[in-house]
Subunit: 743 residues, 2 copies
């Protein structure tokens, strides 16, 4: 009996061992065996899914018809070999999916054949011949792209795993996948062992192939970083970012660090979009293969929160706000956002707002998540994704500033009081951009780069990204003495961040955000309050901008407005020069042509422009001898890398403490078809500073019809409960909370 | 019996007389009594008509709710009184229509009340206080606007004619309409007695009120001009145009003169659009009241032909090509084109292509023509309006040059070899603009004016229209010695025009137009040939531009390319200056900043740019020491009236006879969403002049794949039948006709 039991125990033990090493079925990473059954059962019934499948099939069939090419690596991005390998990785992933869903072996064979070609090449492949990267790849010039490749190819391998025989799998794993994973990790720790979007791709790549290969060492390396390796904490990468200041590494650290509890990604939405795919696709894989990790609950569910944050960081058209190094035009139509929306819907709370975005994307993932979304759309569950005013904290614990977005009647104000944003950050504390119906009214320049356009510096960051785009003067914020914030130094910028004073979107007639910054210019405090106000007698809400500067030195202050469109009128008597000279010599000023200059001679300076068939007017409570400078981007730009767009700068000289108060109105319309100009003049008669003390700043706004409103901000006490009393022109005002607004 | 017969005869005679003076029923001008019955019978059954009616009703009801205001005239366009009277005229016309269709007296009352207010004001109204016009109106600053008013109000009056009693009609006619018609005609002959779009409005105004009042004198004055009045034939108007060089006047002369037999209107499409409404609405009135005039058959049916020509003078989006003084953005969505399309459909051949435009306009006239169109759309008869390559002759007899439009695969080349184009003409012989899918690739600047935007020079022509927009250097054509064509003088320009050499759109692989000009620069002949060519191995057709210059003097030649978008790359080693200076001092050169300059050092100069997600490359067969100048519009522009757009100029110095040969390729794509740059390089390896004699010019185009094509043009003999033989590099070419193209 004892013996029998023992035998049984041994057998059970064997079976158990057997299961723990052998039991993993395939596909299991993104597609699952059960999921594929569901999908097959629904084929032909779910239009969005069917259309996505059909489109994919056509694309992949066209590629199969072209034949397989795995050229010897040679080019930077934009060049043939780069683009071919990039395309190959995507097509393999897609063909893998088609094999599973359509059960057609031609797709599996295509993946297999291509993988075998890669295997044959890779085993003797040296480092990529291009030397520009701090971490060279083998298929590509940088490990980053190699990691992209492996993230996609892991999925392809998972899909055809069972199609291959054991010897084939062994060959691929030994000669291709394992050395590939090692090259981007243990052989490239300066790339892998970091908290950075590059490393996230690396972690996901190693982890996903690890999950498919059921290789615990790789999975652990993915989740926790390379065991026992720590980097020089003062070393920097190509972009000037620290390689690994805190010594943290691995996928979990990469979730922990860059995301705030609100889901804001510290590099901004453009890079979040880029990073999102590996975060989410690896998370989906972990969810499927290692459900015990509860990855979607990690850090209070921050991965799913981050998708909501990202969608909120887009304008009315779905274009991401180009904070930091962001290329304009990137939007939620990007494939990474198809992944994000589908995953968020499926693993989150089935938010019907996401379905309306999915319907616009007109595409779903070909997995359980995409099927759920397509079914939701089919069943008429979609509702508009309503973007409201939102405050997103920055920093791992949400204590490093943030981004406040005010929204009202099609107007969107993006106020940036975030931390440096890693190596892709700009020196633009308390800057903002302003949108109407998805069009830029006052722009954030974004980056100076033409991503993947080889003729433009190989598609990489251009010199002007550093000399112009990152500099403070390139943004709608205050510049002191023609110097950039934090001296334009990453080391200094990384130490500090602005602090939120208040954010309130609870009132119908005023949406407001306020923050201050004391380290951008030592000895100077900038406190900026921005509000979108609805006032009777105005066609649309207007924006109020109060920038209070306190300094222990005498300085020159420049406040730019990068308006988009054609100058209509100003009440400043300016002169234009006969020849154009740059506005300055450094810190971005060398890139601005001075097109006109004048001295303000009214208590209110007015400047209006026309764009996208709408009129806009800036009204500013200026002081005598303030200067108005009309500028245009493009000086000292030998390669014509910069867009020749305009700005107007308010300059105030020889001042320590001062106050800039401005409004931006959107008003009226112009149609070149009807040729009607409607409501083309400002509705503000007077903008007046009625109080400005250390404790309070009060602004009175008088409309053309003589109706006035009063806005008061408590500059030091931001308690929501505090009671305030203030006498202005013999009238007593009493209120509780940090600001007062009374029509 | 005799007596009886006589009595009967007398009675018949009386009845006849009675009918001939009294029988005119109302409405009869645009709406007719029978037409209104038809419309009423169809109400609720014709969606496009019903929707147009409902929209109009909402608009008019809103205006009625606002109450009537007929302010004392005071402002220029853009100002309140101007815009109010303009709105009033439209609303009266609309309310008149609603009265007829809906049979609701409130609309008639509204028109009557407003007319009575006008009557009360008009009878003592002095000239408009603003003095800028050569022909001041009373309600408006210029007779032109007064005429607009009467064209609309005549229709309103016709609609409520029967609603008014005889005394009311008499009061209006005596105190308002008749003196109004007299003011714009007999009191303003310098405005009325001309061949000019202004006069067309005047003629139509006088004629339409004449038709409603059944006033033969006014009708004759409309058709034939003011009896016995002739103007100083050397006098000029505000725009520098001759008042009346030929002494012709009246509506018929205004049809005769400006329209070519092909229906091209000599001022270009922007002004044709403006003129179209009075031409067509008065013609419709004449057709209804005086069918014996057969107005739509006049001059071989030119009015209807002109609508087809106008529609063909629009890009893929329906925006008119901004030839001469044209404001960009004006399109077939303008109300005048709703009129044109509906009238063309109804009085023409019921072209189903027009229905597709009407469907896009989403609006029809509320009369017989609109009903017919709406019924056509309802009954599924709409077909795409297919725009093909077309050659439109200019001049009353079609012998004063023209405009050739080449179209191929979404590309549109607009080649202008037209006559001066009246006072709105530009000095731009043999110039062109180039479009892709409705986007400008190489632009025509258009006018320098912000129509109706009061802040910009009262909405009128700006100084820069003359100093920049009209000058030759503002266009994509040749400038000799920095002088404009015809010395930039209207008197000279009006004497001459280029001559067509050939136009051929019959071949699938080559669309071609060629013309020459000998008077723009005395002693110099310019012969330009432009073609859009389809060649195997090219992704899309490319444009070939051959400009042959023969001169009896030594000159400097500038050939500009006003490309739209961002510079991608050039093979010219250029330098940028430290400060920007204007390119020259006069003739438009003073408005160009010189942003970069270099000497060509290759046999082919390449210049590429990116716009609207597409790459473009200009390849030019340049000579050693040709200069490439990068320029930007906007120098000496104190009011920021000009758009800061770019150009690149090829400059060749110290030459008499010379040849400029260039190609423009559209290739590839860039998406900021996918960040894929596809086919971003030119496909042309070499562009080579292989023959250039007085008789022949031959160009060889070699693609990257080494396939070549050869284009030969016979420079002097443009007979379609001529037989040619030419030996090039020991190979004999034989062909018939004026050009040869062989892959």
């Amino acid at each position: 009996m004892t013996k029998n039991i023992t035998t049984i125990q041994v057998i059970i033990c064997c079976i158990f061992l057997c299961f723990s090493t052998m039991a993993q079925e395939h596909p299991s990473l993104i597609l699952t065996k059960a999921g594929v059954q569901n999908i097959r059962a629904e084929l032909g019934n779910v239009p969005l899914f069917d259309a996505s499948l059909e489109k994919l099939k056509q694309e992949v069939d066209a590629e199969i018809a072209l034949g397989i090419d795995t050229p010897v690596p040679q080019d930077y991005s934009g060049g043939y070999t780069h683009e071919r390998h990039k395309r190959n990785m995507v097509v393999m992933q897609q063909a893998g999916v088609l094999y599973q869903i359509l059960d057609d072996a031609k797709y599996a064979k295509y993946v297999k054949d291509m993988l075998m070609q890669y295997e044959a090449m890779y085993k003797t492949l040296p480092l990529h011949p291009k030397t520009r990267s701090y971490a060279r790849g083998k298929l590509f010039w940088q490990c980053l792209n190699d990691s992209n490749w492996l993230v996609y190819v892991s999925q392809a391998y998972d899909c055809i795993y069972d199609y291959l025989d054991k010897a084939e799998r062994k060959k691929l794993e030994k000669n291709l996948f394992r050395p590939f994973a090692d090259h981007i990790s243990v052989d490239s720790p300066q790339f892998y062992q970091r908290v950075h979007n590059h490393s996230t791709w690396g972690n996901a790549a190693v982890g996903m192939i690890g999950l498919v290969m059921n290789d615990k060492e790789l999975i652990d390396r993915a989740l926790y970083g390379i065991k026992g390796v720590s980097l020089d904490k003062t070393a920097k990468d190509d972009d000037g970012g620290f390689l690994n200041k805190d010594g943290k590494a691995g996928f979990l650290a990469n979730i922990e660090e860059p995301f705030s509890p609100d889901g804001y990604y510290n590099e901004g939405p453009y890079y979040q979009r880029y990073a999102m795919y590996p975060f989410l696709i690896f998370a989906e894989g972990l969810h499927n293969v290692k459900p015990e990790l509860k990855i979607f609950e990690y850090k209070d569910g921050v991965l799913l929160k981050s998708i909501d944050a990202l969608l909120n960081l887009s304008d009315a058209d779905g274009d991401f706000f180009p904070l930091n190094d962001g290329q304009k035009g990137m939007s939620y139509y990007n494939n990474a956002l198809v992944t994000a929306v589908d995953i968020s819907y499926y693993f989150g709370n089935q938010d019907p707002g996401l379905l309306s975005i999915a319907a616009k994307q007109n595409k779903v993932l070909l997995d359980d998540t995409g099927l759920a979304v397509a079914l939701g759309v089919k069943n008429g569950k979609a509702e508009p994704f309503e973007k409201k005013s939102i405050n997103l904290s920055d920093g791992p614990e949400g204590k490093q500033g943030g981004v406040g977005i005010l929204r009202s009647d099609g107007l969107e104000l993006v106020f940036k009081y975030a931390s440096q944003g890693s190596s892709h950050g700009h020196y633009d504390k308390l800057s903002y951009s302003y949108y109407e119906n998805g069009d830029e009214v006052l722009q954030d320049y974004g980056l100076a780069r033409f991503v993947n356009i080889e003729q433009k510096g190989g598609g990489n960051y251009l010199k002007e990204n550093k000399t112009w785009a990152k500099q403070t003067i390139a943004h709608n914020t205050l510049v002191q003495n023609e110097q950039s914030h934090y001296q334009g130094k990453y080391d200094i910028g990384s130490k500090y961040h602005p602090n939120l004073h208040l954010f309130d979107s609870s009132q119908e007639n005023i949406q407001i955000v306020s923050a201050s910054e004391t380290n951008a210019y030592p000895g100077t405090k900038m406190h900026r309050t921005m509000a979108i106000i609805k006032q009777d007698g105005f066609e649309k809400p207007f924006m109020l901008d109060i920038l209070k500067v306190t300094s222990d030195s005498t300085n020159q202050y420049d406040l730019p407005f990068y308006f988009m469109g054609q100058v209509v009128k100003t009440n400043v008597d300016y002169k234009i020069p006969n020849t154009l000279e740059p506005l300055g010599e450094r810190n971005g000023y060398q890139h601005l042509w001075l097109e006109g200059t004048g001295m303000t001679n009214n208590e209110n300076t007015k400047f209006s422009w026309l764009d996208n068939g709408r009129f806009y007017t800036m009204t500013s409570a200026t002081l005598p001898n303030d200067e108005l400078k009309l500028v245009r981007i493009g000086a000292n730009d030998p390669e014509f890398n910069l867009r020749r767009e305009a700005g107007v700068i308010l300059r105030r000289k020889d001042t320590n403490n001062t106050l800039f108060v401005s409004t931006i109105e959107s008003h009226g319309s112009y149609s070149p078809v009807s040729e009607l100009a409607i409501n083309s003049n400002s509705n503000i008669k007077e903008l007046k500073v009625v109080v400005d003390t250390a404790a309070y700043t009060a602004i009175e706004i008088t409309a053309i019809n003589d109706e006035t409103s009063l806005f008061i901000i408590a500059n030091t006490n931001n308690s929501k409960e505090a009671e305030h009393k203030l006498k202005i022109n013999d009238k007593n005002y009493e209120w509780s909370g940090s600001y007062h607004f009374n029509k």
